[in-house]
């Protein structure tokens, strides 16, 4: 009996140990950037010397900064207008895309989920296909239409196609399908119009689906590389994701600080919306 207990306890310890190792590996980059942005240039030069000036040996690191300093952070916040310029570009793109999806994708998902619309199945399949296609497949067609509309090299060239991306339609659709039909029926019997049902029942009971879609889309917007890379030319219109790689390694402390500040908004959204993120991921896999 005792040895079984011992084995069980050992198994549990091993589980926790393995998980802790992997969890530490996935979290390490965040930790690294946080530390790096608090390190002074002198300290960084000392650790990263072999990387920066190609001397012998290897770059090293300290778990915590020996002499924490906010110098790079101060420089970033008070003396780097270009960082904020690009930061606001990213925010404008994100806001535009999320707003568009709220205005167009949300009603579309509701209509698709709750009404006997002709061609419903075809449209649903189309949504899934479009959301699965990698950007490279639709790159040429998006370029052609944006060129035609004269929108290339403006933030709209990123916002408009993004606003109509079908991914969020799909996520919201899955959640809207879960609302029981009896609720809608009884509201109709009480004389509620379709618009009222949408606002009072759809928006309220589908709220977690809407949030899931928005959280997933927010994270996507902050990582966006492919679209701005091909549709934008003017430097001042670039989002943060294309600015960061330009901050050269010879300003290592500043570069680390920029990288860290740039990940704060999505990590913050992740922290607040993790449950919605999980639900959104599962919406693609679990039949309700």
């Amino acid at each position: 009996m005792r040895s079984i207990n011992m084995a069980k306890r050992f198994g549990k310890l091993l589980t926790v140990f393995v998980l802790a190792v992997f969890a530490a590996l996935t979290v390490a980059p965040l930790f690294f950037l946080a530390c790096g942005s608090l390190m002074g240039n002198g300290e960084l030069n000392e650790y990263l010397g072999p990387f920066l000036i190609r001397t012998d040996g290897f770059a090293g690191w300290r778990l915590f900064p020996l002499y924490p300093t906010l110098r790079n952070a101060v420089r970033l916040f008070f003396d780097s207008p270009e960082f904020f310029h690009m930061f606001w570009n990213t925010m404008a793109i994100t806001g535009g895309i999320l707003g568009g999806q709220f205005l167009f994708g949300l009603p579309a998902a509701w209509g698709l989920a709750r009404y006997p619309v002709p061609g419903r199945k075809v449209f649903y399949m189309l949504c899934i296909l479009l959301m699965m296609l990698p950007f490279q497949v639709t790159m040429l067609s998006e370029y052609l239409v944006l060129d035609h509309l004269g929108l290339l090299d403006s933030l709209w060239s990123i916002i408009l196609p993004g606003a109509f991306s079908t991914f969020s339609v799909f996520v919201m659709y899955r959640f809207f399908c879960g609302i029981p039909e009896e609720l809608l029926e009884s509201a109709r019997i009480d004389g509620a119009g379709e618009l009222k049902i949408f606002f009072l029942i759809g928006l309220r009971l589908g709220a977690s689906g809407i949030l899931s879609a928005l959280v997933l889309q927010f994270l996507e917007c902050f990582s966006m590389i492919e679209q701005p890379l091909v549709f934008l030319q003017t430097k001042s219109r670039m989002p943060l994701s294309l600015y960061l790689p330009e901050v050269k390694a010879d300003r290592m402390g500043f570069a680390l600080c920029c990288s860290f500040v740039a990940l704060l908004p999505p990590v913050l959204v992740f922290g607040m919306g993790q449950q919605y993120l999980e639900q959104g991921i599962m919406a693609g896999a679990v039949k309700e």
Binding site: F22, Y115, S141, V145, P161, A163, T166, L244, P245, V286
Partner: protein
Amino acid sequence: MSPSRKRRKAAGLLFLLPGFFGIAVFYLIPFGDVVRRSFVQAAGGRFCGVSNYRTVFGNTAFLLAAKNTVRFVLVCLPLLLLLSLLLALLVNGLGNKLKTVCKSAFLLPMAIPAASVVLLWQLMFDLHGFVNGLLGLVEIAPVDWMNTKAAFAVLVFSYIWKNLGYSIVLWLAGLASVPESVYEAAQIDGAGRVACFFKITLPLMKPMIFTIVVLSLLNSFKVFREAYLVSGNYPQEDIYLLQHLFNNWFLDLSVDKMAAGSVLLALVIGGFVWILQRSWEEEG
């Protein structure tokens, strides 16, 4: 048809229309144009049958990129699925509080923009970088990660780091969908934990496994971000993916090749989506 049903049909169409209009303008109509362009010459616009497709299949860059992309998927998918299943099984045995902590940790990379980790990737995989420093501790000679065949391993690592949490969450959902009572019955019959896993859990999760495979496959295209940010338009030969190729075709304005390539890729992906849809229908 009853008048109320007719009215509801109209209401549904009104909800759907604005979104559908945008999708048609930005995706459907222009893609139709791309399909048309894939059958005409880029210069002059004369119909040329499948000659664009022939050019694509005869293009060495395309063959290299296609080979690399397939190889990447064939290495990454099994690795990601096995590792995430293993971790999901471990996480599943934890109490609720630890479970949440673990999920947060594994999902975090999804929230970190590719551009923010590029610097760290460079520091790690440089000839004088962290990884070689650690390898030096166990007397392994340094590797020039980004400029040799090892670049492939960096890409695989990057993909797994980013997608581990996503797959774990999916596996956990699958594990939770197996009713507890099935396990209890099996235990009464004297089945061990390993037998339970292979005889009950895996078979019951079969439709789920399929979904996870397809979703992970489609996510694998996004690995281009890290690859591009770390090594630009022309990376080490082994990690030159279809995504790089399309980007370079775009820069060269090779509209004919791009059009044919887009249609081909869309057909392949469409095939996967069709399979996925079939498995969903079986499930439901």
